[in-house]
C-alpha cells in the first residue's frame, strides 16, 4: 500500500487544517493511559500517536452508551478519529458483522460508520495487559483503516488504506515519499512490539487454541473458582471492543419512541423473562456464557473472534481477574489463581 513520511509538526498542522472538514478526536496521553479528546491546538502539543491503544474502544463513537433509535436521529457530523489501534479495528469488524451484514442492517450505525474516517496507529509500546498476538492479531494494523500512522524518529509513516484516506490526504507537499530505510525502521519497531506481546502472552499458553473447538469440561464448582472475584460490575463488557449487547426501552408518550442502551450479559437481569425466570440465574452460568460468547459463539456466528486481545477487560476488572489466566485454566483444564497483581 502507498506510504508517505511526514514530520510530527507537519502532521499536527495538517490535522489542524482538517478541522474544517469535520470533528476530530485524538487519542492523547494521560497520566497512565491514552484517551480520546476533541482536537484543540493545546492538545496537539502533547500528541504522540502510535504508542498504545486508547482506554476507549471505537464502539464509543459508533454505538453510543444510550441513544434514540426510533425515530432515527439526524445524521451525526463527519468525524475523524485518530489513534485507534489494530485491536480496535478488529473489534469494529464484529460491529460491522452485526449491524451492517445479514438480513437487517442498523441505519444509525451505518450513518455513523459511513461518516467517520479512521486514522489508526501502530502500538510501539503495548502494555502488560495486551495479548493480541495470542488471538491471531498484531500490534499494528494491516487493514480496516483509512490511514495508519507508524511513529518513526521525529515523524510518522502514513499508510493509505482506502480511497477515502487518499482523498483526505489530497496533494500535500508536507507528505514526502517514504524511503526504504524508513520502512525498514517501521518493520523493526513493529517486530519489537510483536515480540513483546508474544513473549508476554506465551506465559499463558493460550496461542493456537482459540477459537474453542471443544466443549469445556469444567464443572460449576470449577468455574466458581474462576469467577469468585467477579463483582458483576460489567466493566469488562462495557470496555470490550466487541461487546455489542443492548436493551431497548420505549419512552412514554403516544408515539413510538425507542432508546437503545448498552447491556451486560454478566448482570443478573440480562436474560430474565417477564416471569422472572432466567436461563442463566447463577453467576457461573453468566461468566461462562460471556467466555463462550467471545471464544466460541462469535466465531461461529461471524467467523470472527469475539476477543481482540486488547486487555481492557483485564485492566478494568474490579476483581483483578486476568482473563488470560482464565483462558489458560480452561484450555489446560487446570485450576489456577486467576488474579493479577496491581
Amino acid at each position: 500500500m502507498e506510504t508517505f513520511y511526514v514530520t510530527c509538526g507537519n502532521w499536527n498542522e495538517f490535522l489542524l487544517a482538517k478541522a474544517e472538514e469535520g470533528e476530530i478526536f485524538l487519542s492523547l496521553p494521560q497520566q497512565d493511559h491514552f484517551e480520546y479528546f476533541p482536537l484543540s491546538e493545546n492538545f496537539l502539543e502533547k500528541a504522540c500517536f502510535g504508542v498504545v491503544r486508547p482506554a476507549e474502544p471505537l464502539k464509543f463513537f459508533f454505538f453510543p452508551f444510550s441513544q434514540r433509535i426510533l425515530p432515527s436521529q439526524n445524521p451525526s457530523s463527519f468525524r475523524i478519529l485518530v489513534g485507534a489501534a489494530a485491536c480496535d479495528l478488529e473489534g469494529l469488524k464484529v460491529f460491522d458483522h452485526v449491524f451492517s451484514e445479514g438480513e437487517y442492517s442498523d441505519p444509525d450505525y451505518l450513518l455513523r460508520r459511513n461518516s467517520a474516517l479512521l486514522i489508526s496507529s501502530d502500538c510501539s509500546s503495548p502494555n502488560r495487559f495486551c495479548f493480541c498476538t495470542a488471538v491471531g492479531g498484531k500490534p499494528y494494523p494491516t487493514n480496516g483503516f483509512d490511514m495508519n500512522l507508524s511513529a518513526i524518529d521525529e515523524g510518522y509513516i502514513v499508510e493509505i488504506g482506502t480511497d477515502r484516506g487518499r482523498r483526505f490526504l489530497g496533494k500535500d507537499s508536507r507528505f514526502l515519499p517514504s524511503s526504504p530505510e524508513m520502512l525498514a525502521e517501521r518493520e523493526k519497531k513493529r517486530a519489537r512490539a510483536t515480540l513483546y506481546v508474544t513473549e508476554n502472552s506465551q506465559t499463558f499458553h493460550i496461542e493456537d487454541k482459540i477459537p474453542l473447538e471443544k466443549r469445556i469440561s469444567f464443572t460449576a464448582k470449577e468455574w466458581q473458582s474462576l469467577w469468585s472475584y467477579c463483582v458483576q460490575c460489567g466493566s469488562c463488557t462495557f470496555s470490550c471492543p466487541t461487546c455489542v449487547c443492548f436493551l431497548l426501552e420505549d419512552y412514554s408518550g403516544e408515539k413510538f419512541v425507542k432508546v437503545r442502551t448498552w447491556d451486560s450479559c454478566l448482570l443478573p437481569g440480562y436474560a430474565a423473562m417477564a416471569s422472572g425466570v432466567s436461563p442463566r440465574p447463577l453467576l457461573t452460568d453468566r461468566f461462562k456464557n460471556r467466555f463462550m460468547c467471545k471464544y466460541s459463539y462469535m466465531p461461529q456466528n461471524f467467523g470472527h473472534s469475539g476477543c481482540t486481545g486488547c486487555g481492557r477487560c483485564i485492566e478494568g476488572c474490579a476483581g483483578k481477574i486476568d482473563k488470560r489466566k482464565v483462558l489458560q485454566s480452561v484450555l489446560t483444564e487446570t485450576l489456577l489463581d486467576v488474579r493479577y497483581e496491581s
Binding site: P71, V98, S105, F246, E249, E254, F256, D285
Partner: protein, 277 residues
C-alpha cells in the same frame, strides 16, 4: 414494513378482545398494512410508551385480514396489553425467525403437544395443518392445562375441533392436572396424553410448546417413545429485545432464538446449557 428502520412498527388496531382464562386474552388485531407470517414465526408488539415484547400469533397463517395473538399477563408489557380496549392502537413489527417447516411434515404422522398458553403457537400450526389436511397422514393433538378453566380456545377445542375428529385423520387427547365434576377427558399432567400414541413414532413428527418444565418432560417422553431427535420440534422462549439478531439477549448457546429459532429441532439444541429454563 419499513426496511429503513427495522424498529419501525406497523400500527395495528385492536378489533376484538377474547377472554380465554382469568389471565389470558386473545387480541384480534387489524394491521394498517399487508402482513403475513408462517406458523411458528413471532412478532414484536409495542404498547406506545410502555414497551415491547415478542409473541407468536395463534391464528391461521392463511387468514390474512386479521392476526390473533394470545397473551398471558406476566409482566409490564403484557399487563399493559391486557388493559387495552377494543379500538386501541398498538405497534407490531416482524414476522421474525423460523417457524414450523410444513414441507417437512407432509405425508407424515404428526403429534402436537401443548400445555397452557403454549397452545397458542400450536393453534396457528394446527389451523395451518387443517387448511391442507389431505397433505398429512394423521394428526394427534395432545393438550394439557392445570384445570378445565385454564384451557384456552375452549369453544374451539371442546366443540369444533373434537367434532372434526369424526371425519378427519385427527385425534385429540385432552388432560388436566386437576379435574372438576364435569371433566370427561384424561386426568394428569400433559405427558399422560403421550402414552400409546398409536403411530409410527420412528418416522413421526412431534411438536412441543409450553412452559419449560412441560417441554422438558414431554421431550424426554417423546424420545423414550422413539421419536427421532431431529423430528422433535421445540418452540423456545427467551428474553428478546431487537428480534433481528443484533442484541444477543435471546441466545441459546451459539443460536439466536430470534433468527435460527424460535422453532428448533431437539437435535440442534440438545447440548446447550440452560435449555429448559
Amino acid at each position: 414494513m419499513n426496511h429503513n428502520n427495522p424498529y419501525q412498527p406497523i400500527p395495528c388496531q385492536v378489533e376484538e378482545i377474547i377472554e380465554e382464562s382469568p389471565n389470558i386474552k386473545t387480541l384480534v388485531l387489524l394491521p394498517s398494512e399487508d402482513f403475513s407470517f408462517n406458523a411458528g414465526q413471532f412478532v414484536s408488539l409495542t404498547v406506545p410508551g410502555v414497551g415491547e415484547a415478542p409473541f407468536t400469533p395463534s391464528s391461521s397463517p392463511f387468514a390474512l385480514d386479521t392476526i390473533e395473538i394470545t397473551i398471558m399477563k406476566a409482566g409490564k408489557v403484557t399487563s399493559a396489553i391486557h388493559s387495552l380496549k377494543k379500538g386501541s392502537m398498538l405497534g407490531m413489527r416482524g414476522p421474525y425467525g423460523n417457524g414450523y417447516s410444513l414441507e417437512l411434515f407432509k405425508k407424515k404422522e404428526i403429534l402436537l403437544v401443548g400445555g397452557g398458553v403454549g397452545l397458542a403457537p400450536l393453534r396457528s400450526l394446527f389451523l395451518a395443518l387443517l387448511h391442507q389436511i389431505s397433505e398429512y397422514k394423521q394428526i394427534l393433538f395432545c393438550c394439557g392445562a392445570k384445570t378445565p378453566q385454564d384451557y384456552i380456545y375452549k369453544d374451539q377445542v371442546f366443540n369444533e375441533w373434537l367434532s372434526l375428529c369424526e371425519n378427519l385423520p385427527l385425534r385429540m387427547r385432552l388432560a388436566v392436572d386437576k379435574e372438576d365434576d364435569a371433566w370427561d377427558y384424561m386426568k394428569g399432567v400433559v405427558t399422560c396424553t403421550l402414552d400409546n400414541p398409536d403411530m409410527d413414532v420412528h418416522k413421526g413428527i412431534a411438536v412441543v410448546c409450553g412452559p419449560p418444565v412441560m417441554m422438558k418432560f414431554s421431550t424426554l417422553k417423546l424420545l423414550d417413545l422413539g421419536f427421532p431427535e431431529e423430528n422433535i420440534f421445540l418452540s423456545m422462549e427467551r428474553k428478546m429485545y431487537c428480534g433481528i439478531g443484533h442484541c444477543r439477549h435471546c441466545m441459546v448457546g451459539p443460536y439466536f432464538v430470534c433468527k435460527e429459532g424460535p422453532v428448533f429441532s431437539y437435535r440442534m439444541v440438545k447440548e446447550e446449557a440452560s435449555l429448559w429454563a
